[in-house]
Symmetry: C2
Subunit: 462 residues, 2 copies
Amino acid sequence: MTGSPPLSPAARRFLAQCFPGDAAVTSPEETLVYGTDASRRFAPASAVVRPETLEQVRELLAFAQAERIPILPRGRATNTVGDCVPVTGGIVVSTARLNRILEIDARDFVAVVEPGVVTGDLQAALAKERLFYAPDPASVKFSTLGGNAATCAGGMRAVKYGVTRDHILGIEAVLPGGDLLVAGGRTHKNVVGLDLTRLLVGSEGTLAFFTKLTVKLLPLPVATATLAVAYPTVDAALSAADDVFRAGILPVALELLGREAMQAVAAIAAVPWPDAAGAALFIRVDGSPEAVAADLRLLTAATAPAGPVWSQAAATPEAEEPLWELRRLLNPASFKAAPDKISDDVTVPRGRLREAAAGIAAIGREQRVRILVFGHIGDGNLHVNIMHDAAVADERDRALTARERVLMLCLGLRGTLSGEHGVGLSKLPFLDRQLDATHRTILSRIKAVFDPAGIMNPEKAY
Amino acid sequence: MTGSPPLSPAARRFLAQCFPGDAAVTSPEETLVYGTDASRRFAPASAVVRPETLEQVRELLAFAQAERIPILPRGRATNTVGDCVPVTGGIVVSTARLNRILEIDARDFVAVVEPGVVTGDLQAALAKERLFYAPDPASVKFSTLGGNAATCAGGMRAVKYGVTRDHILGIEAVLPGGDLLVAGGRTHKNVVGLDLTRLLVGSEGTLAFFTKLTVKLLPLPVATATLAVAYPTVDAALSAADDVFRAGILPVALELLGREAMQAVAAIAAVPWPDAAGAALFIRVDGSPEAVAADLRLLTAATAPAGPVWSQAAATPEAEEPLWELRRLLNPASFKAAPDKISDDVTVPRGRLREAAAGIAAIGREQRVRILVFGHIGDGNLHVNIMHDAAVADERDRALTARERVLMLCLGLRGTLSGEHGVGLSKLPFLDRQLDATHRTILSRIKAVFDPAGIMNPEKAY
């Protein structure tokens, strides 16, 4: 990771010709920022290009395969596991100029977009037509649909609506070598051929470069409501969450904040919950106004037996917003809680959340690191931020030890290393603990079907 | 298709040893019924085995690969496109004795089943615990979860809940050669490695033999309600369907019956709609009792502007049942409408349904065949039954011509050859019209990754 393999003079000529003006950059100063992503890892890129047309992408992938130059697809680089980091050098291909919403079709209930469209921008454009793209990753305001598809992004609405995979109907992609692959289409159901669309979703840039996505739309829910409710302990909060499902409610979102996470938020903002609160649930429902009002009553009843120490219901967007703002403050709050953090997104079977939460707390005590736990517990998906100061002797080591133990704890509970971020670079060393040799052989061979020369985002994901 | 390649004496010995007693049968009388499926095509099987254990399946797939003997996975053979027909001969592997519900876990919200479990049996077992497996193919009372997964079965509840793919969390499968592949798991979110689970779903038996499925559960909706409403024309009914979505309602089911389909039902049962009815919608909603009551009021209002000639609302299961029974009568009714039928399940973008319905009606007139149209229009998924009498001179030819024109019409509307049945044998001749050479090459190479000797359900699907 100490230097990028320089491009040959022929490669430089090709790039200058195919990507005129500032569409290609090769100087270290200009490419520097393209060497990292939200994982904070860094490796220098050999070059960065910003295609505007399908033809440019095809020419690039033909050239790159012939010359065996790595190709690194890149959206807004919000990836937390290093998927955008050019560890082998190579050409970073930014989707920044492939950023058009090509179609919003209110009759077909589809939108067609280029991969560089920011997900939140699409959602805003859809809302004007009372349409709805359901996936809602936390990064929605600055991550792209191409990146969301490449990682099968999750987010808060997955409990009711599922993840990105469930909302991508078709993908147009360029294969290494330059061939065009059209997978899926604009029908809401399609069972012709193997499901290449969902094979591309979540492939972390290792198979092909996406040039167009067709996404499924739903009618925009007319109303939403939120209940925030705090309990003395995580166990009580999880028990309340069980009661919510037992009442037959399928919430849009069911979020947990653990004690450390609540304290981190309290350190940077005024919070409405009392000191006795050791865990909080943020629960949202949607539907018709009548349905939402009824669900809110049901939620209030279902969350009572576990013994809340505080609760607040919000039945208008204006009232809901400050509650969700508290949830969103977790990210900035965690940056203030310590100089460094290791973030993970482990997921366990829903019934094992208690054991996971207790185990993580024990690991934090044992390794003397503060661990913030929060997440999408409706899916068993916990975000674990291991806070530390890498400058303090052995604190980084203890944080890394804690991290490995958290991952192994969750696998031991029949969980998965990642629920929504992917494997990238940072979980690759642990992959053998989850996937056996047969599985990994199949993955490698499928990779070779798409990318025989191994140029697509090499040394990542699997 | 005229005779099955006989098994070698060694193969017979292997089967007798690995599948003692009546677990293996090889006589033509006993294997006869295993030569066909709901497609009514026939080819004789060389042998039929009914494994009870994973070990038997592994031994069988090791032997079959070594000996290059085709393997035909088979559930209850409700497949309508010939996926269960042993066109190359070979060993039919029935899941009849792999039929245990292994786990229903109300805390993890998962069930683990063997592939031979009938989907309706699982739903009934779940309902007792107020749990819910959402996919609901029309064949639910006699098709299996293994078969549903192999074809990515759809069904009426797909509008709100999606298809089988969206509800399978993990698959344990035996690869040709006998290796075990464990894809996915019991977490509701999982993005580790390429998505082999969804690659197996819909693979029509061509990649591996499923031995265990982990499915996602939801809380059982507390209440449901149904509105049935008839209009003079299909256009008016489709306009009402648009209005339903425009009102922000996401129904569980949104079914259309065309005029010919309604007449076929009327020929075998008393129907509540007037003669003036040329199309009907059956719309179901679910949720809390209050939500359902509110949605029913919204539905009634949303379906009014299109000018219904009849409508009936049902807010209790007892009142809903006779309405859905009318919808279910379509299948027996279509068998009575003519001696023979060709069934398809084309799907078009939702906004192209008008053109599809009008085009199909025109094809019926032109070819002088009666075409029943009905289906899951919330997904753009039309069932097209081309009724004819194969014994009448040239009627079969006209039916086949009509069928090809219907398929091409729907592809021309940017649709797909199949929304839920798969390709199997019967749509394979048309596959080139939908998938280009690049796409098909990828499919073949992925097949070879799983099944290098090409023994899994050969000559099917792609």
